[in-house]
């Protein structure tokens, strides 16, 4: 069973299908009433953007789901990886170092192709492009996030671990209840950076046909021949999403802040 490269079918919101677009996007703006003659005389590019906007914004929902999913997966894997790399057995540390090296050394696009067209087919796993996108971005992000947490853990004063042990906590408990809660607070700036990287990287999943912002912009562009305005619109949506996300994480950072708490550096 071979998959066809390029856009494939799937759930309506999350993948590209020719048919759907016809539903959401009316032909040549017949919905604009005659009173707004001015608007009708607007440059075609603006009209193209206006018309495609709802469709693109739907795509931004897809993008956000991919990004949030990947961040969650990256976190779930990255936090234990970081703890393992700092406190683990030398063999485990070496394994994690290789894992990080592997996922940070190969381009996202290659991973996407490898997983979607390669591994999924070879092992006969039936995953949508959307799911593969989240998994691949999540795996790569786990390598980066583990390094963010690792830096944060290393910046904590050594006494914290000792004090937890002195209370009779096991290493696992000390890491989960004492070290990680502090390290995670310190990781928020790095996290906000990771969010904006994932957001931008998510545009690459277009190569698998995930119906995110970029894919939709390109889709409309090839049909209306308004490439420049549509990519421009896509770029602006990304800028807005970056801005909103980093603002949100800054708020989180403020809420999570413990009065007077600032371990050395970071």
């Amino acid at each position: 069973m071979e998959r066809k490269p390029g856009p494939v079918g799937g759930a309506s919101l999350f993948s590209m299908k020719d048919r759907e677009y016809g539903d959401t996007m009316p032909q040549k703006c017949p919905h604009i009433p005659h009173v707004f003659k001015v608007i009708e005389r607007m440059p075609e590019s603006l009209i193209a953007i206006m018309d495609a906007l709802p469709y693109l914004l739907q795509g931004s929902m897809v993008t956000l789901v991919v990004v949030v999913g990947a961040m969650g997966l990256g976190f779930a894997l990255g936090a234990p990886l970081a703890a393992g790399q700092v406190y683990g057995h030398p063999a485990l540390r070496r394994f994690i170092a290789v894992y990080v090296w592997f996922f940070r050394g190969i381009p996202l696009l290659v991973f996407l192709f490898l997983f979607y067209f390669g591994l999924c087919t070879a092992f006969d796993i039936n995953l949508s492009a959307f799911a593969v996108a989240i998994i691949v971005l999540g795996l790569i992000s786990s390598a980066y996030q583990s390094q963010i947490f690792r830096g944060a853990i290393l910046s904590l004063p050594e006494g914290q671990f000792k004090a937890a042990r002195a209370l009779g906590m096991s290493d696992f408990k000390a890491i989960s209840f004492i070290i990680l809660p502090q390290a995670l607070r310190l990781s928020i700036p790095g996290w906000s950076n990771e969010y904006s990287i994932l957001l931008k990287d998510s545009a690459v999943t277009y190569a698998l046909g995930v119906a995110e912002i970029m894919a939709r912009a390109h889709f409309v562009a090839t049909r209306t021949y308004q490439h420049l305005p549509l990519y421009f619109a896509a770029g602006v949506i990304f800028l807005v999403l970056t801005w909103v996300g980093t603002k949100g994480l800054r708020l989180l950072e403020e809420r999570a802040r413990i009065p007077g708490y600032s371990p050395k550096g970071l």
Binding site: I106, L114, G118, T121, V204, H227, L228, Y231
Partner: protein, 225 residues
């Protein structure tokens, strides 16, 4: 097994070698232009007058905020809209240079701001003009401080060079895609492609480490204020 070997020898090897060269031809000039742009923009962001500073900041915000894929699409598919036609290769280099330049400028800017004021006072007291002071006192120090960050950026560039495939510039990833589509050996081919990139990023990391070591000045990196 032997069939696999034959396939690798006859098809994979020459194709990947070709793709590898194209990738290098994309990466090398983009890295260089990116650094030059980064240094110039970084300097303007710190020492420029107000409008220049604002323009440089806007440049960085835009080129760091918009995904590289979108930028590449704008250069390749978008520019024809206003009558400018670029080849995929040129569009890729343009996109890579501008985007990585914007990132480099962040590190350069941070490094410039970390240089102590006394260094500038001393240069001025010797009669250095502003341009001479920046080029022979400030920048040599700032570049050393920015090197780790800029090095990382070059590693990123190596990986992101694969996006050139998306605007039909057939480099390493593109060659792999063609090979795999013809032979349906996606897993093997993309593992090999991945290995190529791993080699490139690892070698680049080692080289950058050497450069850092070579430029290292005793006691300089530690004394940040």
């Amino acid at each position: 097994m032997t069939e696999g070997w034959l396939y690798i020898q006859a098809e994979v090897y020459p194709a990947l070698l070709k793709g590898f060269w194209v990738s290098l031809q994309l990466i090398a000039p983009s890295a260089l232009c990116g650094l030059v742009i980064g240094v110039m923009v970084g300097v303007l962001r710190v020492y420029g007058n107000r409008p220049v500073m604002a323009a440089a900041n806007a440049f960085v915000a835009i080129f760091r905020g918009i995904p590289l894929v979108v930028q590449l699409f704008i250069w390749y598919f978008g520019l024809p809209h206003i009558g400018i036609y670029l080849s995929p290769f040129v569009a890729s280099i343009l996109g890579f240079s501008l985007c990585s330049g914007a990132y480099h400028s962040e590190y350069i800017r941070g490094a410039l701001l970390s240089i102590k004021r006394g260094q500038m006072l001393a240069a001025q007291s010797l009669g250095f003009s502003k341009i001479r002071m920046i080029s022979s006192i400030i920048l040599p120090q700032a570049i050393r401080r920015a090197l780790p960050g800029c090095g990382n950026e070059i590693i990123y560039l190596i990986k992101y060079s694969s996006l050139a495939y998306m605007i039909t510039c057939i480099e390493l990833t593109g060659q792999g895609k063609i090979l795999a589509s013809n032979s349906f050996r996606y897993t093997e081919v993309f593992l090999m492609i991945g290995a190529c990139y791993l080699v490139m990023t690892s070698v680049a990391t080692i080289i950058l480490g050497r450069v850092e070591e070579h430029l290292r000045i005793p006691g300089f990196e530690r004394q940040r204020t």
